[in-house]
Amino acid sequence: MIEIKNLTKTFKVAEKDKGFWGSVKGLFKRRYHEKRALDDVSFSIDEGEIVGYLGPNGAGKSTTIKIMCGILTPSSGDCKINGFTPWKDREKYVKDIGVVFGQRSQLWWDVPVIDSFHLLKDIYKLPKEEFETQLNLLVEKLDLKPLLHVPLRQLSLGQKMKCELAGSLLHKPKILFLDEPTIGLDAISKLKVREFVKTINKEMGITVILTTHDMNDIEALTNRIIIIGKGKLLYDGSFDQIKYKYSNIRTIEIEMEEDYGDIEIEGCEFVSKIDKKYTFKTADKHFKLTSFVEKLSKKYKMYDVNIDPINLEEVISKLYEELGI
């Protein structure tokens, strides 16, 4: 359904000289250098998939999404989605996609949400009945009824996101692009957004591509992730595999009876100490907590022991570190 081959996008970035005279000079003569936002990226996505598109800030996530949505024209490479090349057949192509940018609204700020929806109906030339059925469905699923007659600007971030999601699905797209849909949302709203995305994927068969920095989004929604860094594709595969790879990293917290200074001990790395609370870390697959505690208890007196598996945020930052981005 989505076929991306050797996508490359370079931007010309103007170099600025420092100081007042530098900027005056910049008015007349500008030097440019090329910045590669995307470098030879290829991947494909099948119908009905949910794919997490990950990478640190400035990795090229948004650039990819923007190319896939027809906003940007790539410098080279090919992108076929639903049989269309987004930037060439834009008007025909975008009928089948929905796009939500978490950072900015696509609905109209000053008017009630329902008015925005009606404008979208006219923009997409939707038949009245089809529109009404889809609207009712979305209103029910997202619990939008109390929000419809409120101007968008008066809604909370979470409420706004629900309206954005509905707005992007009125025309029954086959593919939904979500660019950081949970950014800035509270825990409950995040859960709701995830649940909704899961539902539409299952019930309507919509293919979803989402970018996010919240690994819990990925954990809840999909197993397939694509990681990009410095414009290059670095990983395309299962999230579980990556979690498994780092699952042996554990943190051990021990509260001692006294302050013993720094403690060096075999098989476990001493990380930090706050007052009498010690933190150790291990990446050893065969690490056994009991023997470690036994070893420690011979020398020190302990109050409490606590062991934590690595959390998702750490997994991804570990991975980024390893990938050199």
Binding site: F11, N57, S62, K66, C69, G70, I71, L72, T73, R90, E91, K92, V94, K95, I97, V99, F101, Q103, R104, Q106, W108, D110, V111, D115, H118, L119, D122, I123, Y124, K125, P151, D179, E180
Partner: protein
């Protein structure tokens, strides 16, 4: 039509801030009346400027102001295109199945400029009525041609400005030299200005095509021809073609902003 639905929305939006809407309506009207008044006092002193009487110049003023305010009111989206780029609103246009041109057109209707539009229309009707000659079908047709041509030219200039801002992101004042500057300049018939200026505003930016040239036909000035004067508005409208092409071309070069 989609444009009218958007217009309705913009009107609804403005009525939410009623006081601000009425005040800007009023101030727009006063500003344009002040321009007219300064013109009147000028003629009060000198009676005739370079062969043009006050009532004739009033027609010129009214035509230019009408066209400018019309374009500013209904094609405002192009005028404030830079804002659209900065806010990221333009990105949303790309993901919808309508042309960027049409969506830009719909994106902004500035009803507060109607104050100016109404004043200039009133001045136009009045100044046409006090002309000493009879308005035949030909002259009415030329006058309508002038108005249409003027509106088209201002739209073209807004579009060129919009195209520039795709590259600069910031809106640039250079364009205002031609829109606002051209508007103020062309309130007076172009022959009162130095040759070079007249040439620029005839051949490069064809302001002369919708006021100076056809107006000479309206007022039966010596040496006018059908081809050179009465039909001038038709030539002027051609500017929309390169403007549209440049606009489309620059959209291909659009590089979006931020995340």
């Amino acid at each position: 039509m989609l444009y009218f639905k958007f217009a309705k929305m913009h009107l609804k939006k403005m009525t939410q801030y009623r006081l601000s809407f009425f005040l800007s309506l009023l101030s727009q009207a006063i500003v344009s009346l002040a321009a007219l008044a300064s013109m009147y006092f000028l003629f009060d002193r000198f009676n005739v400027v370079e062969g043009w009487s006050f009532s004739q110049v009033a027609v010129s003023y009214a035509v230019v102001y009408f066209c400018f305010s019309f374009a500013e009111c209904f094609f405002r989206g192009f005028d404030v295109f830079a804002r659209l780029i900065k806010s990221g609103g333009l990105d949303a246009f790309f993901v919808r199945p309508r042309s960027i041109f049409y969506q830009t057109l719909c994106s902004n209707v500035e009803f507060s400029k109607i104050g100016r539009l109404v004043v200039s229309l009133a001045v136009l009707v009045y100044s046409c009525a006090i002309q000493p000659f009879a308005w035949g079908v030909d002259k009415i047709a030329v006058l309508i041609g002038m108005l249409v041509c003027g509106i088209v030219i201002f739209l073209a200039l807004f579009m060129l400005g919009a195209s520039f801002s795709i590259f600069t992101v910031e809106g640039i004042e250079v364009v205002n030299i031609f829109t606002d500057g051209g508007r103020d300049l062309c309130q007076y018939p172009l022959n009162i200005y130095p040759q070079a200026l007249t040439k620029i505003f005839t051949y490069i930016i064809p302001f002369a095509c919708f006021n100076y040239l056809p107006m000479m036909y309206l007022f039966d000035m010596p040496g006018v021809t059908i081809w050179g004067n009465a039909l001038a508005p038709l030539y002027g409208m051609v500017i929309i073609i390169p403007a549209y092409l440049i606009f489309k071309w620059s959209l291909k070069k659009y590089n979006s902003t931020g995340t």
